[in-house]
Assembly symmetry: C2
Homo-oligomer: 414 residues x 2
């Protein structure tokens, strides 16, 4: 899984880091991209009290780091995404990056201007060290023994990656949903290391309902007889049934009721000629077929232990926990400028949750841009192309670029 | 399971049917009630094209049928409830009826005035014929071979019960959620047999999201290895894990986000002294403990095949299906007066769904009373005691009573 490091990225002259584009496949795309694997030998202390003796992070980069290393943008991913943010991956040429509509030449996060970094989080299952990785002490997969991580642990690991890349301060750290939590955490735990913090479709902490859905998903996985207490690797199986159900639940919460009504309504899958129902428990409605397909597809590529881990990371995120529940106080250390975006039909992390963050930032007199997009697509809207949403992000990054140019020519950032 | 019929209920003089109260246990309660089992020998044709050669319905009654048999109220139940609507059941003296706050002496549906009937639906698992019953042809439980039923099939079975009880016309047919669908179906399929139709927290048909949640629950059950394609009875097991997950999902959809926030928030179950997290997948938050408890409790008493069946019955309900989707036209046969109640925080069947029914009734110039209750408790609000909600139902039943008295004294129902 671990490949030799790219010579560019190992270089002691990080200004020479260049986009890993081998070929530009489609207009506006970063093209075909190679994944780099960064190995870290220094133990990483974790919030749980445990530590990882060494670990690998899977990384992709797009665009070119400028001479003063001021144009780097870190993209943080949500539950099931990865470092593969844009373009096509050399090792999986059919799969477009999960935020390709957002990141690329001429796109809202313009790789002609910015050096964009995608990193697979620790504990995930796409090349970074996680539960499926071999544990050095045992020579076997970690399984359920892999430590439970926090968003803060991720930020710690990501900041070491920034060190390695020679990036002292990001132009922006950005993410949607759980990715937004990481961006928010960067602004609190490493305030000097980012100029802008972009938090999309996120929340300062999960609600009881959010935790409830996570818990049901976890129970579906853990009670699957093929889970084997997390050591299913040794049994040559995966808890496919549990993972499928978990993903089906998740998927419903990513879509809005209206969006599902519009996409599927009560459309039948294969109605009899006279329109009669099947009167059984097979697929009767399109929505059933869609959810089964999504669940089964997911269960073929996603690691069950990672699903447990990342839902727990979500549950635990609560930066105001260290300030007696006072979000304003927990954000008082932040020095970044902020962009927050929410979507009206997102019932997982509704606009009211983003507004809590906006209010806490305003209480701290931080510069905040906030956009509430009236989009029908629920939580998933943050991944979709909406001209108003993308317009807001584009305008914000143009502003960052202007400020960078100003500061380079000796002007002041207003 | 089938007991001899009660002599009163077999009587050819149904005006003598009296409340099955053996003892009045608590003030305002119907006391301890006996369940009656009605056996029907005439085959019941079903919407699926199949038929049941014979079947039993478990029934409880409260109050006394009056001389002109005009004071009968049929209570229809939702997914996991039963004929045990009020008081304590003789066979389960610890369990209060599911709508005891609504039905009893001096309660909104006053058993000093009305003769109230609770009936366990066909296909359920509390005494009426269902998948766990012995199939006469094989001498074994029906299992997955039990026919999939529709709301209309239930109404057909209930109308035969009304015949047996000598009730030509109900003062009201009433229900919440799936129970409300049955009341609505009565008003369409047997318009002459009810004076009032009371539909609470219900919908004219499920949305794609509703069907989606049902489908995930079914997949959790069906993919449990102990489901054995529905023949788990023969294996001496139940698909407990699947049922537990199914119920946990359902439970989240019955509560509002706000209500869960208020009840549980992020309250921890057994936090360490320093407030540290557990960093594992055990119970960390109260909401996890609550959902696990609810799920496991449910899996001990509810039949998995019944869960499949009733969720499918919910999916299939769509009275406007016979009129090309035109709800107004499908309700044009109705002659009852209507009461509809919805709850603002019910996101399973939100007020907008009740308003669709109200609009269709108004289009038909039916008398409709509609109350939208600003209650925090989500879908479950229909089971809870809210003075405004109960006030509306009480006032409505007082109006029914006045009309009944007027018609008895030769006056006219306005």
């Amino acid at each position: 899984m671990t490949e030799p490091l790219s010579p560019q990225l190992q270089s002691s002259q990080p200004e020479r880091i260049s986009v890993q584009t081998l070929e530009t496949a489609i207009p506006g795309s970063v093209g075909i991209v190679r994944t780099e694997y960064f190995h870290f030998e220094e133990p990483l202390p974790l919030d749980s009290g445990q530590s990882l003796s060494d670990y690998t992070l899977a990384v992709q980069t797009y665009g070119t780091l400028n001479a003063d290393r001021s144009n780097a943008v870190l993209i943080c991913h949500a539950l099931n995404a990865s470092h593969h943010v844009a373009g096509y991956s050399e090792d999986d040429p059919d799969q477009l990056g999960w935020w390709d509509n957002m990141v690329g030449p001429g796109k809202p996060v313009d790789t002609n201007i910015y050096f964009v970094i995608g990193v697979n989080n620790l504990g995930s299952c796409f090349g970074s060290t996680g539960p499926a990785s071999i544990r050095p002490e045992t020579g076997k997969p970690w399984g359920a023994a892999f430590p439970v991580l926090t968003v803060e642990d991720w930020v710690r690991a990501q900041s070491r990656l920034a060190d390695r890349l020679g990036i002292e301060r990001f132009a922006a750290v950005m993410g949607g949903s759980l990715g937004g939590m990481q961006a928010l955490s960067w602004s609190i735990t490493c305030p000097d290391r980012l100029a802008h913090c972009i938090v999309i479709a996120s929340t300062p902490k999960l609600s009881a309902q959010n935790i409830g859905f996570n818990e049901v998903a976890r129970r579906a996985i853990i009670t699957d007889p093929e889970f084997h207490e997390g050591d299913y690797y040794a049994h040559g199986v995966v808890p496919k049934r549990g993972l499928t159900v978990a993903r089906m639940i998740g998927h419903i919460t990513y879509l809005s009721d209206d969006d599902m009504a519009q996409k599927f309504g009560r459309t039948r899958r294969e109605p009899a000629e006279n329109g009669a129902y099947r009167y059984d428990y097979g697929v009767e409605f399109e929505v059933e077929s869609y959810l089964r397909y999504q669940g089964e597809k997911f269960s073929r590529y996603f690691d069950a232990n990672t699903y447990l881990l990342i839902t727990r990371t979500l549950d635990y995120f609560d930066p105001a926990r260290n300030t007696g529940g006072d979000l304003t106080r927990s954000l008082s250390a932040a020095t970044a400028d902020f962009l927050l975006v929410s979507f009206t039909t997102d019932w997982r992390f509704p606009p009211s949750r983003s507004r809590e963050i906006v209010q806490a930032l305003l209480n701290n007199e931080r510069p905040v841009t906030y956009a509430e997009i009236d989009a029908p697509h629920g939580h998933d809207a943050f991944l979709l192309t909406d001209p108003r949403y993308h317009g807001v992000v584009r305008a914000y990054f143009e502003r960052i670029d202007k400020a960078l140019k100003l500061s380079r020519t000796g002007g002041h950032h207003e």
